[in-house]
Symmetry: none
């Protein structure tokens, strides 16, 4: 194992498994399918956000625009991430398993991380254009979102390079990243609580959903980061393989929830607020 | 045969045939052409749904938006599925047949399945934004559609991994998937019957078409799932080959019918309903 790690340099868990025991057809393909689903959802949702932008009053449209920005960047990065997977592993007929291809690119989740460098600030800013803050200052919250969002991603990005080669560094960087994450959760809780005050009842309901969705979907990311350790790094091949598939699925579920479903709920909340303020898209005579 | 299956791991029928006898040029290319036709139709229809969105009153436009979402995701997934086919098989000059390429990616219909994970709920929700339910509850029907739609796809997805290696598992998962399908059919029948009540006569006519179309086009999917057994797995090469081509054709016909033609009929029904409610796109002076 030591020799293998040395050979791989900053091995990610995916390459480590691919070089050691490889993947069954089912594990390799489930990963490929899930990664493909991920970017397809982003492009599909991009059109949703473009086509529904006029269902909300002009003051709320920045939220849709930010969703569009997130969809474009997530689509492209997840597309590259997906090709990174299929381009790393090749089918070895002798062992009937997919192995890390000789001379192929290695697999690394870093594409996702740099995607988040765009998406995380956008997703956090987005809600500020829908809710009305009663006590907190818009600029202050925005800057704190930006600071902790960026801090969380950069430290997590560095940490993920050490998931196999240096557990200590992996956990230290992961811990720092988590501190930023906790700060974001506290801020978001405050934003949603203030936003609910004075919002029409149906919008309040959607804001409630958004908090639950935000909490659970963002919690999936640290889970995916820790996946090699949750399934135990030194376990038997079938477990390692399962950890890799579980990570792909977890990231995809988290991305779809925290970007697409979150954006849809914000659109629905904004539609209710628009109606309450006299902007009713459905009753417009010549809605264009 | 046992050795071949072992070599292929969770062999799909397509790989099994490709590794054993391979495909004639005609069988390989008909498959390639049909798969290409599939994604081309989706991109073409995407434009149709975008460009006709204003021919219906605002309250019906969600149906068009959902058609667009379905077209984008289906286009991308079918594009990858098509490349999966051409990337798996290579022409072997000696036998003058297309064979599973050594070291190439294997073929798997799983891309389709995960595409349906997006499309099936969207297609089922879509009709709820066109018809008016007289007795049933919108949220209840929507949740049941979502539950059974997802259940049907996930169980079918797992099942298709065993089509060659474990007929028992293949049929058990397929059977569970069919139970969800029957539930969906019952729900859809109810939705369409209620939707017809009070709808203008021409819209009623289109809703009638939609039920017939829905019933037959969705029935094609279990047919495609069972294709290796419909043509008998142990039959001679020419039959196996025909089963593979027939499956590609069946899936494509089903996809075009259940997504594109279904969406067009819903648009036509919504146009009639819009007219009956005083929204007449054709008579608008400066329709934009």
């Amino acid at each position: 194992m030591e020799a293998l790690i040395e050979m791989l340099g900053n091995a990610t868990f995916e390459n480590y498994v691919g070089a050691a025991e490889g993947y069954t057809e089912m594990a390799y393909q489930m990963s490929a399918h899930v990664l493909t689903l991920g970017y397809a959802v982003m492009l599909a949702a991009l059109l949703y956000f473009v086509l529904t932008i006029k269902t909300v009053a002009p003051k709320y449209r920045t939220s849709s625009v930010l969703s569009v920005v997130v969809m474009v960047s997530a689509f492209l990065l997840l597309f590259v991430q997906s090709n990174n997977w299929t381009g790393s592993m090749i089918y070895d007929a002798e062992s009937a398993r997919y192995m890390l291809g000789d001379g192929n690119d290695l697999f690394n989740n870093g594409y996702r991380y740099l995607n988040w460098l765009i998406d995380v600030p956008m997703l956090l800013f987005q809600i500020l254009f829908v809710v009305t803050l009663t006590k907190s200052d818009f600029s202050s919250i925005r800057n704190q979102f930006w600071f902790s969002g960026t801090g969380m991603i950069v430290t997590g990005y560095i940490g993920q390079y050490y998931e196999v080669t240096s557990p200590t560094l992996f956990f230290v960087w992961g811990f720092i990243s988590t501190l930023f994450f906790v700060h974001i959760l506290i801020l978001m809780k405050r934003v949603i609580s203030e936003g609910k005050e004075g919002a029409p009842p149906k919008a309040q309901k959607y804001l409630g959903y958004i908090w639950t969705l935000f909490f659970f979907s963002w919690m999936l990311y640290p889970g995916a980061y820790l996946m090699p350790y949750l399934f135990s790094l030194s376990a038997e091949p079938a477990m390692s393989e399962m950890a890799v598939v579980a990570r792909h699925i977890t990231y995809t579920v988290a991305d779809v929830s925290s970007k697409v479903i979150y954006g849809i709920f914000l659109t629905l909340a904004a539609q209710e607020m628009s109606k309450a303020e006299g902007y009713d898209y459905e009753s417009m005579e010549n809605a264009l």
